[in-house]
Symmetry: C2
Subunit: 234 residues, 2 copies
DNA sequence: GCAAAAGTGTTGCTTATACACCCATGT
DNA sequence: ACATGGGTGTATAAGCAACACTTTTGC
């Protein structure tokens, strides 16, 4: 420890805190993320994750809910929100010292691309989107990995579906997020045999063609035991 | 919900950022956490997790490493550090708006309680410690749960051991963190049969009584597949 | 020899996978 | 009839828990 630098380095950092959202859904059998085009400097015109600054008198989860509502119109418990991590590289934002807390939001496939208010340039893209502003590629990668893991251990997949949903709906979520094909018969047995994952509504959905499927809602389970194991990394 | 004018609530929050550490180890077959007695207001004299403010010019991981070094004398890659989450309740700190980013540190059983510098009142206690300052009980709970999960999917358990270690050492870590008894024979087979978890050194350790045990180091694997499944919650 | 901890073999049960097969509907 | 997706049964394989048994040391 040197004397002079110590005086400088011991100063508590003066920081601002932003919240960035990774909003995931499944569209056309593929995992998609909501991306906006930035309207301000820095990175003007560049693609980025939606987000904004933490306001006075609100905690991070409220800030994330507010941003989610502004971007998608979704509100309340209709979606699943979870903290992914906090990103703090000193040079991550050219405006100064800004920490970003990333949240993962999983929403059902929305009818219109976005019913948001502020970010009119929002759009859904595949998760292999091009370069994003700031460190948003890293954040996106971490959030997707988190979603994949949570599919194994929690009923998160149901958050991708609008209730009520069929077992086939649920399976297509797993296939899209994990990027693998699953056996429909074994998947059906595993999910319906699991305790508290899904509960039948007693009603049916009639697809354009094929046998009607039983409809389900999300059950009371918060964790899946045993987990639905993802096939080996290939 | 207060009726504050919108113009106030839209102001970006002015916050400070702290880093709090959950430093875990295994002592006498039990999971233990490093706790300090606070020397300043607020919560003067109360037990708390070690921590401090983020400094200028350092990111969160560096701040966590600095704090860990100040508290335990440990430095560099000898330990495992991982972000657990960011805690942001508006009233979590009476001094004002202070966010805390929690880090989990897993260290081998240290010879002396603590070889630290600053916090002379640091001590190891069981994880069922009494009430802590701030929201530190919640942070501790989250961090322990994270460690338990990571034992299933990563070679984290080796971070609790000083290298080289025996399979029995490793097993006692699982038993302490999970709080269950495991079959030594099946555990041995599972771990040694796993790809890249542990690599034999070729040397032996002679216990005071009993057959000598082969010594191992941590292998190259970063994730365990298939995971070492924890027995059902009971 | 005896206690203690390491390590191996074996058995029986549980679970997963692959796939044959039947069901119910729209066209 | 036939295409399409929903759902059940079953055989084979893989994995796991339980435990008998052998090995290697200190005393």
């Amino acid at each position: 420890m040197t004397m002079l630098p110590a005086v400088i380095r011991r100063r508590p950092a003066n920081v601002q805190v932003a919240v960035d959202l990774v909003i995931l859904t499944v569209r056309d059998g593929h995992l998609a993320v909501l991306i906006i085009d930035r309207g301000n400097e820095p990175y003007l015109g560049r693609s980025a994750l939606p987000g904004g600054f933490l306001h006075e008198g609100e905690d991070l989860l409220h800030a994330a809910e507010r941003e989610l509502h502004e971007e998608t119109g979704l509100q309340g418990l209709a979606s699943h929100l979870e903290q992914v991590g906090t990103y703090s590289a000193v040079d991550r934002d050219p405006r100064g010292r800004i920490l970003s807390v990333a949240y993962l939001a999983v929403v059902p496939n929305l009818p219109s691309p976005v019913a948001g208010t502020d970010a009119v340039d929002a759009r859904w893209t595949g998760i292999d989107t091009g370069p994003l502003a700031f460190d948003h590629n890293v954040i996106l990668c971490d959030a997707v990995e988190r979603a994949r893991t949570h599919l194994e251990n929690t009923p998160l997949a149901a958050s991708f579906c609008q209730e009520p949903f069929t077992i086939g709906d649920l399976r297509s979520v797993y296939e899209a997020v994990w990027g693998v094909a699953l056996d429909p018969r074994n998947f059906h047995r595993k999910v319906t045999g699991m305790d508290g994952f899904v509960v039948p509504t007693g009603t049916m959905r009639h697809p354009p063609t094929g046998r009607p499927a039983s409809l389900y809602r999300c059950g009371p389970a918060r964790t899946l035991y045993p987990p639905l194991q993802r096939p080996p990394r290939g």
